[in-house]
């Protein structure tokens, strides 16, 4: 069992999402940076999609009442195990009674904690992801708070020498403070004026404080419309860039609604989802158009890196 001493700023249980129920209005949720969660899981010997903790900006303080293997990946929130600084992207052994704490944000926004066997909250519709909009999944459908108890399995049958293995830097996503994000234009770029499309692909957009797991609201050159009509509500893919009437784009992310009705300028490519997940308010974004084939190539390349664990 893991005891939550301090919850941190915004900590939730997440796996790789609740797929299969969007047609019933149930969102996917899941880790914002699914690559980092997957890498952390593989390091401790779990399957990629096992439930871990998504920790945002300010990490929690956790006490392990069960010995376990752990790994942290994604943002660098300055982790300490029993007061000793430990590196990210590395498998560590946490003895019974040990405490994991965090100094503060050094780089990125979201760090992922994987423990041996995963966080064993009851699955809802096949997933342990916290779905805040529906108040279910994860631990009681909410963010963690002090004195919560998270069940984890006993450390049995695992090779003790997994500790120490790590995930090399060259195999990680190219995280950057002010990234250029690749998008596939459309599906409804034809709602915007030529000038509007040009603005989107040439201007710099700032991540505003009104950004969360549902979506990142950006501020920059307003994107002008060509057609005044509203789009008829349609299904929303992960990474959809929608533009409401004020012309300021919103990137829809893990906790997005399943359907929506603002025109869609472009959709982020899956290979770049880890980059946006690690952005914080104030970061500056640019967008570059790529073809679906290039996007697919980038995705296959990134995810094939996942097996590059070093010993």
């Amino acid at each position: 069992m893991i005891e939550v001493i301090k919850p941190g700023f915004f900590t939730t249980v997440q796996d790789n999402g609740r797929w299969g129920y969007q047609g019933y209005g149930v969102g996917v949720a899941g880790a914002m940076d699914n690559f980092a969660l997957s890498a952390a899981n593989l390091l401790v010997g779990n399957p990629e999609g096992t439930a871990g903790l998504e920790m945002t900006v300010l990490g929690p303080m956790l006490k392990f009442h069960t010995e376990t293997l752990l790994a942290i990946a994604g943002a660098d929130l300055d982790p300490y195990l029993d007061g000793k600084s430990i590196p990210n992207w590395t498998c560590h052994f946490a003895p019974t009674g040990s405490t994991l704490s965090f100094g503060g944000k050094k780089k990125g926004a979201r760090a992922y904690l994987a423990v041996f066997g995963g966080i064993d909250v009851p699955p809802v519709m096949g997933s342990r992801s916290t779905y805040l909009l529906g108040n279910f999944g994860g631990l009681e459908g909410r963010v963690l708070k002090s004195r919560d108890h998270l069940p984890i399995p006993l450390l049995v049958g695992t090779l003790p020498n997994l500790a120490g293995r790590f995930f090399p830097e060259k195999s990680r996503p190219p995280y950057a403070k002010n990234p250029t994000l690749r998008v596939v234009p459309g599906p409804f770029a034809d709602f915007f004026s030529e000038e509007g499309v040009k603005a989107f692909f040439s201007a710099e957009y700032t991540v505003t404080p009104q950004s969360d797991r549902m979506g990142y609201r950006l501020q920059g050159d307003p994107i002008k419309r060509k057609k005044p009509e509203e789009l008829i509500t349609c299904g929303l893919a992960n990474g959809t860039v929608q533009v409401p009437p004020d012309g300021q784009p919103i990137i829809l992310l893990a906790d997005r609604q399943t359907i929506g009705g603002y025109p869609i300028m472009a959709t982020l490519i899956q290979a770049d989802m880890p980059l946006i997940a690690q952005c914080v308010p104030g970061d500056k974004l640019r967008f570059a158009a790529v073809s679906t084939d290039k996007a697919r190539e980038a995705y296959l390349q990134l995810w094939s890196n996942l097996k590059n664990i070093c010993h």
Binding site: M125, V184, G235, I269, T292
Partner: protein, 241 residues
């Protein structure tokens, strides 16, 4: 002549098929027919389907399929000769207690259309509605089209909390809130049915393409049905012990 659907990339893990650009039953039936057709001709790598009014979003696994392969698959299934648009699922009957605390906006809907609240109920229960889409919040079913005498614009300022089971009118559509959520539709009544349940599969009572008809019940009947549900639940709990 019929226009072939537009097939568009929605990033690199989903495609969007646009069957038309209007909210009407004929276009929505094309969406539903494609969903049924796709269910019978699934290929590995095609993920979940999200039907809406006149479009269908289809996720796919980029490890297994490219956009052009998915596009080709979709094109081959969307020929109108392949689409069975005649299948009509059963009509789901929905009991509703109208007005009062359960439907606080019914008087507004009546005044807006210069009719009485009783006439609102008569008109609302007269039609059989097509469920165009399920979404916005878990299990929310949006259906249409309401008789023009009860069309009413949405609230200027949405409510922060609408109780589960609330039946509303939003423009030319009517709909049911399956779970408590914020909402801007004019509330005219409430159903005692549970329309979203985590432990049911599927979790939602409605899916897109269903048909629904409403019938009025009294407050007493509403209370009785609610109590019955609670009793069934406590019996189930005792059974587990």
């Amino acid at each position: 002549m019929e226009v072939p659907p537009r097939i568009l990339p929605a990033g690199d893990q989903a495609i969007l098929i646009e069957f038309g650009v209007e909210i009407n039953p004929a276009v929505n039936r094309l969406v539903q027919a494609f969903v049924r057709n796709a269910g019978q001709h699934r290929i590995t790598g095609i993920g979940e389907l999200i039907p809406s009014y006149c479009t269908l979003l289809i996720y796919y696994d980029p490890f297994l399929l490219s956009f052009s392969q998915v596009e080709h698959w979709a094109r081959s299934l969307s020929g109108s000769d392949l689409l069975d648009t005649k299948t009509r699922p059963e009509v789901k009957e929905i009991p509703v207690v109208y007005g009062g605390l359960y439907g606080p906006d019914i008087e507004f809907v009546a005044r807006h259309n210069q009719i009485t609240a009783e006439e609102v109920v008569q008109l609302h229960t007269r039609e059989t509605y097509l469920v165009y889409v399920v979404g916005f919040s878990p299990g929310f079913a949006a259906m249409g089209t309401v008789p023009s005498k009860i069309k009413t614009p949405r609230l200027q300022t949405p409510r922060t909390k609408v109780p589960a089971g609330s039946v509303g009118i939003g423009g030319i559509q009517t709909g049911i809130y399956a779970v408590e959520s914020p909402g801007g539709w004019q509330l005219i009544g409430r159903t005692p049915l549970t329309l979203f349940h985590l432990n049911r599969n599927p979790p939602a009572y409605f899916q897109a393409g269903d048909y629904a008809r409403f019938y009025p019940i009294s407050q007493e009947e509403f209370g009785k049905r609610r109590r019955q549900k609670t009793e069934v639940r406590s019996q189930n709990k005792q059974g587990k012990k």
